[in-house]
């Protein structure tokens, strides 16, 4: 269980999260929607303990991570994996080395075993042709796929975190990435790998998530399923999700 209790976070005078509270089970498929600069990525960083809140508690699996040291946080972070916007690939490493990065760091496997695992992951994500390319030679969609492969190489997380995984991609590539994200988190709870996706692309969120939250002015102003999202009477949220009604067929 991921739980935020009255979390407050400010950057200078700007309050990003204002007494934010919510609970998410590890196996849930959640989309956190909101405009640019609303603090969506900040929520993912808080879950991973990459930044600390000014106030409030963040409880992961019953443990308060806001008081943990960097070394204690390592075990908490192992429950998650994250795909950042634009992939965050190591640009000095090839696709093969990016995917093998974690395995080389602490798996203790031989080079042959690592190569085997890397090839299996790369095959699964359909990027075999890119194995020897450098990140700057990859398209946006390929970079996200490599980033997903690298995340999975680290081990099977309880929950995958996606930071705007389809931003800047053409509709077809976005569809492919969404299909892949959904497939990775398929299965029945509580055994399936959950996901938290933060995005402002409502149509993409609708393809992968079952639960939707809307972040506005540092607070969750909506929390519910697709049916209640479509029936919302909040005019601002209705305007935000307008694309759902205009391009619904594609979803």
């Amino acid at each position: 269980m991921i739980e935020f209790r009255d979390v407050v976070l400010s950057y200078g005078d700007h309050v990003v999260l204002d007494r934010l509270s919510f609970r998410i089970n590890f196996y849930e498929r959640v989309a956190i929607l909101g405009g640019s600069g609303e603090g969506k990525t900040t929520i993912l960083k808080l879950i991973l303990g990459l930044i600390r809140p000014d106030e409030g508690r963040i409880i992961i699996d019953g443990q308060d991570i806001t008081v943990m040291s960097e070394s204690e946080l390592r075990d908490v972070r192992m429950k998650f994996s994250i795909v950042f916007q634009e992939g965050a690939l190591f640009d000095s490493l090839s696709v093969r080395d990016n995917v093998a990065f974690c395995l080389r760091e602490y798996s203790g496997l031989s080079e042959e075993e690592i190569e085997e695992r890397v090839r299996a992951l790369i095959r699964r994500l359909g990027i075999e042709d890119a194995i020897d390319l450098m990140p700057e030679e990859l398209s946006g969609g390929m970079q996200r796929r490599v980033a997903i492969a690298r995340s999975l190489a680290a081990g099977r997380p309880k929950t995958m975190l996606y930071d705007e995984p389809t931003t800047g991609l053409d509709p077809l590539t976005s569809d492919n990435i969404c299909a892949m994200i959904k497939e990775l988190s398929s299965g029945e709870p509580p055994d399936r790998m959950g996901l938290i996706i933060v995005t402002h692309k409502v149509s993409d969120a609708a393809k992968v998530a079952d639960r939707f939250m809307y972040l506005k002015n540092g607070k969750i102003t909506f929390d519910g399923d697709m049916k209640s999202l479509k029936e919302t009477t909040d005019p601002e949220l209705r305007a935000f999700i307008n694309e759902l009604f205009t391009i619904e067929g594609r979803c």
């Binding site: 990459l50 950042f84 965050a88």
Partner: protein, 254 residues
């Protein structure tokens, strides 16, 4: 920036400066990264060091030769050039070139990794960014800057020799005999001790600035500029302090 943020920054810099060199004694040791950084900081900086040193040696020799010539003491050019280069100008000039090339490179590379979330990814995977990114850069700077300084000093002395022998038309062998005379422990130690400190300061400041980058392209520009400016200031300040300390320790009267 309020007082709390200021104290936090000083604390973060202190932690980085202490943890980075200690990282070499803790497993895992990233040997490949250290070698790669040594190549970048050492072999990559060789050309600029040779160029800067040669012209500094020649310019200094010209100045000293002209001034001593007016006093009828031109034959002592080698002694003054040698001591100036080995004890003072060589270490400082090469450290400044190193800060401009390697320090700015470190700050911009780490800053770019911060903005691209690559540093966050390392932390998510349980890898210490200080051990993985800072320790190799600090170690490579501490090792390579003294080596570059020795090479640079030698090239400066050759530049001085060229001016003395072929422009001032004095005895080249007398020039080298004076250089030999000043090659005593005190002078060599005073010249070699400084680059270790300069290398440590440049790498720690540059890595700290890189890892505290935020705010997109403007933030990257700010951190890179700050890295070079702060390194330059710290080289000049610490040179004065180190000179005072070394003169005292070596029993040389001012």
């Amino acid at each position: 920036m309020n007082l709390k943020e200021g104290i936090k920054k000083v604390q973060d810099f202190y932690i980085l400066s202490v943890k980075a060199p200690i990282g070499i004694f803790q497993r895992p040791v990233y040997i490949r990264d250290i070698i790669e950084q040594m190549d970048y900081a050492g072999a990559g900086s060789l050309f600029i060091v040779l160029l800067v040193s040669l012209f500094i040696g020649m310019a200094l020799s010209l100045q000293v030769s002209a001034e001593l010539g007016a006093l009828g003491l031109r034959m002592y050019t080698g002694r003054i050039v040698g001591i100036s280069i080995i004890r003072e100008i060589g270490p400082v000039a090469i450290a400044l070139s190193f800060a401009g090339r390697v320090g700015s490179g470190m700050a911009s590379e780490l800053g770019s990794m911060m903005l691209g979330h690559q540093v966050d990814i390392l932390r998510v995977y349980g890898i210490s960014p200080i051990k993985k990114l800072v320790t190799p850069r600090v170690i490579s700077s501490i090792v390579m800057l003294p080596i570059l300084t020795i090479i640079g000093d030698a090239v400066s002395l050759f530049g001085g020799y060229y001016i003395v022998a072929f422009v001032s038309h004095q005895s080249g062998s007398f020039y080298w005999s004076q250089i030999r005379d000043i090659m005593i422990f005190e002078n060599i130690f005073a010249g070699i001790a400084k680059p270790f400190i300069f290398g440590y300061l440049i790498s720690c400041i540059s890595c700290y600035m890189g890892l505290s980058t935020s705010g997109g392209a403007r933030g990257l520009r700010r951190s890179t500029t700050s890295a070079v400016v702060l390194s330059t200031i710290m080289i000049i300040l610490s040179d004065f302090v180190l000179t005072r300390i070394l003169l005292y320790l070596l029993g040389m009267r001012v």
